[in-house]
């Protein structure tokens, strides 16, 4: 648990340092994720400890968005003024994005599978 948490923090730290150093537009944790993925591929997989810790952390990923979500209370006023365009844009765009991504992926992945067979 402690060792695994340290590994995650070390990769996040490396990611943050690289992001700052090269002024990258990607946040440090995402770079850390990519680096850890490469490390796992080189090493041939995570230890049981790392796997368990990641599972525990990700099982309650929803919890980690709650503090930022409560920040909505700071913007009630602004949202009230433009609620219709904002709601329409968020609902329409989110539904469209999910549908387009899923349909394109299914169409192309289906074709790739068919070619392999």
């Amino acid at each position: 648990m402690l060792g695994a948490l340290t590994i995650l923090l070390v990769f996040q730290l490396i990611g943050e340092v690289l992001a700052q150093l090269f002024a990258l537009p990607i946040p440090g944790p995402v770079i850390g994720m990519a680096l850890l993925f490469v490390a796992l591929a080189l090493r041939g997989g995570p230890s049981a400890e790392l796997r368990d810790t990641a599972q525990n952390l990700l099982q309650h990923l929803s919890l980690l968005f709650v503090p930022a979500g409560v920040g909505v209370m700071l913007h009630f006023h602004r949202i009230g003024d433009e609620w219709l365009p904002l709601t329409a844009a968020l609902v329409g765009s989110t539904l469209l994005t999910i549908a387009v991504t899923a349909l394109v992926l299914r169409a192309l992945a289906g074709r790739a599978e068919a070619r392999e067979e």
């Binding site: 923090l9 591929a41 919890l63 409560v70 909505v72 844009a89 994005t97 992945a109």
Partner: protein
Amino acid sequence: MRASANLAEIWVYLSASPLLGLTVTLLAYQGAWWLSKRAGFHPLANPVLLAVAALVLLLALTGTPYATYFDGAQFVHFLLGPATVALAIPLYTQLPKLRAMAGPLLAALVAGSLTATVSAVAIGKLFGASEASLLSLAPKSVTTPIAMGIAERIGGLPSLTAVLVIATGILGAVSARFIYQALGIADHAVRGFAIGVASHGIGTARAFQVSEQAGAFSGLAMGLNALLTALLVPLLIPLLKHWL
């Protein structure tokens, strides 16, 4: 009389310490999780939505400012970083499927990322949103820190973007199942990837409730879309301004 004076003193003491913000966050979330579980993890009983609603109500009723609450809640917020890094592990277990689908995944990513930005700005414009709101909407499908950075660069309002990002996440988590049912999409890799492109980490949290494969592909989509959106949106905005 004396007891109530003591209670008030306790309140003053507690509301100045991070303990209270942290504890109510965990309590609200566990209550929300319990309700979500009782509802068979139905997407409409989204734990982020339920916990945020309960906490906003609580803070409003007690007159507690957000900054005071966040002093305690920031310890939970901090864990977003290591949790993002931890997404590498489920992703690694999907390596064979990832390899087989690499080309289609990238094509779907580009299609989804463009749809997210262009449709948000176009629909917002259609319904008469202000320019500041349109620019704040453009990066709404990517994880909060990146979205805020993009909004700042293109002239939006970063703090408004943060709220739009969370709302997008919850909307995607709540609605994805119904879209997949309507379109007849069953593959968990496809389901996870699409929700990750549209709804970043909150979509990924939802995908992990469904299956580890959906969660892994959603985490991948979230990371890739963060990268692509950061590159695309600053290029797209001048074009969109010209068209609209």
